[in-house]
Structures are given as C-alpha cells and as structure tokens.
C-alpha cells in the first residue's frame, strides 16, 4: 500500500513533543537549557504537606511543586512548575511556600547583581481547601514576592494544560510580566462550577465546554491581549517562546499596572447585557492605548 501524503499539520503533530502531557518535573526540564536542571527541595527532601495526612489524604513528596534552578537562554533562571494531577495543582502551605521562597531567592540574586529570571508553569485549581487559610497566607506571600521580583526581571506565567489556572493562581498570572497560553489552557478567577453554584446555570453552564473555553481559553485571552503569546502544545515551541519573551526584557508597563486601559475597556462595556466572547473582542479592539 502506498503511504498517503500527510498534511503539514499532521506531520508537525507527529513530530512534536507535547508539553501538556509532561509532568511538572519534565516540564521544568523542557524549559531549562539542556543539562542545567537542578531541583531544589526535590522528592527525596520529603518536605510534604503536614495537613493532608491529618485528613486521611495521601501527600506527595514534592507537594505538587517542582522548583528547579538552571539556565534559560544561557542566563540564570528558576522554573517553578505545578503538578495538576496532584490535588488539582492546588496551593497548600508547602507548595505555596516553595513558590514564594523561590521567587524571593531570585529577587535576592537580582539585588546582588545576578539576573536570575523566573518562569511559573501553572496548573492550578486555586487554593487547597484542605489547608484553607494557610493557602490564603502563602498566596499573599507569593503575590508580594512577584511584585518585588518583577521590578528586576520578567516573570513569565505559562499556562498550558487541562487543569488551567484558576483561583489564587489566576491572580499570580495577573501579576506576571508576560503570559503564555495554549488553546487548551484556561485562565479565570472563579471556576465555572463555582459560578454556576453562586449565580445559577443561566449565568454559566459549567457543562458547556465550548462556551467555557470561549471566554477563558487561551485563544480568547490572547485575542483580548490578556495573554502575550498563544502557542501550540509543543514543548520545544513553548521553551522557545519563553526564551523570546526574556529577550524582550521588562515590559514597558506590566498588565496589572495598565489602569487607564482597563478602566476604558470596562467603560466601553454595556453592563446590562451578557456579552459573548466575540462581542468582547470586538468592543475591546477599539479601546487601545498603543
């Protein structure tokens, strides 16, 4: 039988290595320059959640957060990757503190003249309800460190996989210097189930997947310039986009400081109607401060 010609898209698909399929550790490996990965507080350090076993829940030896030092594009870097498969990437005391501490140490490097940059690979449903208030406290500490570090070096938030980026970590993405997303990724504060519960099914039908991705999926966030880069699920392409963003240096103004733009954007919306994702894109297209 003659091998049929496959389209370029299919050929590309068969060649590429999926980033979404990778676990947190392999993601960090994929983002760092080859041979530079060095994990901090890895599994064998066994710093686990003290709170989960008290509730009969099996902990993970890295608490779902991989912190690795290394280099990106030849420059010192720290990659922080969350594991969406462990407790939904939720932020508990240990994993949250790992993030905050890694950011703080990167800041100290920068203050001492070593330009350590940071990447956050996020898969998270938000705060870990089994550690509730400690989750809130470590989130606040993560935010504090992000605001301090991003003055020195860009922080890239990378949202790739099926867990998405919700709750407390969506705010972290909001504080990042740059945001990279795949079309499969979602970035939203409140999960659709929670909104459906709080505001009713007419507000959001959490089972309507195309609708959910239409408002918070990577395509829409990129289309409304809430994400800087939209990439296909390809580990090499994603790593390259991270390198490219670092080459851009610090953004002229981080997104969370663009008050005028977003106040204008809010002003342009009719609050009395439920907008579709496309309507929002159209309305916002005309609101520009460039």
């Amino acid at each position: 039988m003659i091998a049929p010609e496959l389209t370029e898209e299919v050929l590309a698909l068969t060649k590429r290595r999926s980033y979404i399929e990778l676990g947190a550790r392999d993601r960090a490996l994929a983002l760092l320059d080859p041979g530079t990965f060095r994990e901090l507080l890895g599994p064998f350090d066994r710093v686990e959640s003290p709170w989960l076993p008290m509730q009969g829940i099996v902990p993970q030896s890295d608490d779902g957060c991989v912190v690795a030092k290394g280099k990106v594009d030849g420059q010192p870097a720290v990659v922080i990757a969350l594991e969406g498969k462990f407790q939904g990437g939720s932020i508990g005391e240990v994993c949250g503190m790992k993030i905050a501490t890694a950011l703080a140490l990167a800041r100290e490097d920068n203050e001492r003249g070593k330009p350590t940059r940071a990447v956050l690979s996020i898969e998270s449903g938000g705060v870990r309800l089994q550690e509730a208030n400690l989750g809130e406290l470590v989130l606040a500490e993560i935010y504090a460190e992000m605001v301090a570090l991003r003055k020195h070096t860009p922080i890239i938030a990378l949202i790739a996989g099926m867990t998405g980026c919700f709750g407390g970590m969506s705010l972290a993405a909001g504080l990042a210097s740059y945001v990279v997303m795949t079309p499969e990724a979602r970035l939203s504060m409140n999960g659709p189930e929670v909104i459906e519960q709080e505001a009713g099914v007419d507000e959001i039908d959490s089972r309507d997947k195309p609708f959910i991705w239409s408002y918070c999926g990577g395509r829409q966030r990129y289309g409304t310039r809430l994400a800087d880069v939209l990439v296909e699920d390809d580990a090499e392409v994603i790593a390259a986009s991270v390198r490219d963003l670092f080459r851009r240096g610090l953004p002229a103004e981080v997104r969370s400081s663009q008050h005028e733009l977003f106040l204008d954007r809010l002003g342009a919306l009719d609050p009395n109607k439920q907008w579709t994702a496309n309507e929002l894109r159209d309305v916002w297209k005309d609101v520009s401060h460039d």
Binding site: P43, F44, P53, V58, P59, Q60, S61, K85, F86
Partner: protein
Amino acid sequence: MEKLSFEYPASAKASRKAHVGVVGSGDLEILLEPSDDAKAHVTVLTSVTGFQSTWKAVLDRFFERYQGAARIDIHDFGATPGTVTMRLQQVVEGNK
C-alpha cells in the same frame, strides 16, 4: 488512608536514587533509595484501605525478580496492581 510495611531479602545494593509517578487519581509515586543492609524495605501509604493482601501479592511477585537492597516509599492514590507493577519496573529500570 492506610500505612503498610513490607520487607524482602536483597542481594545487591541499589545503585542510585530514583523517583517515578504522581499521587494522582489511579496513580502512585515511588521513591527508591539505596539501602545499606541487605534488604528491601517497602512502605506504602495508600488512600484505599483494606488491600493489604493485594499489596503483598504484588510486591511478592515483584521481589521474586528484583533483588536490590533499597528503601522504597510508595504514595498511592488508588492505582491498580497493574499500574503499581509498571511503576515499580520503571523505578528500578537501570537500577539493578
């Protein structure tokens, strides 16, 4: 949640640390470290209770073939015996 312990005789010290898996639905995490005594020490922390004999059967079979002296920690989140065996094979790969 249940904690189980097992011990098996071993003939050679495992050569290095290894880690596989994730504590996600139907999966497990295994940490393997070389042990100085001639034994394999296995501890299992599992989310599903009442499967001691199944764990023993899986591990008995595995340690018929694997002879490394090691400390093996398992964090299980409802993996099937097939998955447990697969992860055990992965963690000892190149670590005889």
